[in-house]
Symmetry: C2
């Protein structure tokens, strides 16, 4: 049940952008600062942009910035995008046997508690911390 490296990188990048909310930061810069492989980060940022969390500017002096303020973006949303879902279940949410499936009822409870926890943590709450890796 570990979180993927991809997600971890994404969270770190988002926190870094939250700290630098007024600036546009390039992937190159961000990758260096956070010690993340540049082309890998590029993919991650593209996903976060497509999901509507970032806006990008192309060309020289271009880069990324948060689309909303750090106190409007939850870690839950970031993780949901990067992990695909926050549910630990192995079968789709519309599974026919869902009703009455013991394992599923347990996994659904886990999902609810994760969601509740993460929807309460905003990027803003994390920018005070000193290390991000």
């Amino acid at each position: 049940m570990r979180v993927s490296q991809r997600t971890e990188y994404g969270i770190r990048a988002m926190i870094a952008l939250a700290r630098d909310f007024d600036d546009v930061v390039s992937i190159k810069e961000l990758a260096e600062r956070e010690a993340i492989p540049e082309p890998f980060l590029e993919q991650i940022m593209a996903d976060l942009r497509r999901a509507g969390l970032l806006k990008s500017t192309r060309g020289p002096y271009g880069g990324y910035r948060l689309k909303s303020a750090p106190d409007e973006i939850t870690v839950g949303r970031v993780m949901e995008i990067l992990e695909g879902t926050l549910s630990p279940a192995r079968c789709a949410s519309g599974c026919a046997r869902q009703r009455g499936c013991s394992t599923r009822s347990v996994l659904d409870r886990i999902e609810r508690s994760i969601t509740e926890t993460l929807d309460d943590i905003y990027l803003k709450d994390l920018i005070g911390d000193t290390v991000d890796e």
Copy 2:
């Protein structure tokens, strides 16, 4: 962040044994009933036994049974054994940068809420459900 097949099988097997608390059930029987590959289940059961959740009897008419009553075993304990840990963090709990690591603080919060949730669910609470796969 999905749970492994191994863990899912393990939970199902434990629930099945909870239903049949008075009997000794062989792996063969259990594997058939729950549609789990027999030699794979064998490994899983051995882990649960080594961790102290099951007791086994060898030889003909042998098999497994729960070591404690279904109202004394939590799903949290079962999952902890099968997953190794309930923490989604990628680095060990003694990581040097743990203090002040933003990502870690988020992952630790997730772990706490998962643990709280799962330590409240006993096998007993699940034996009423009709389907287990």
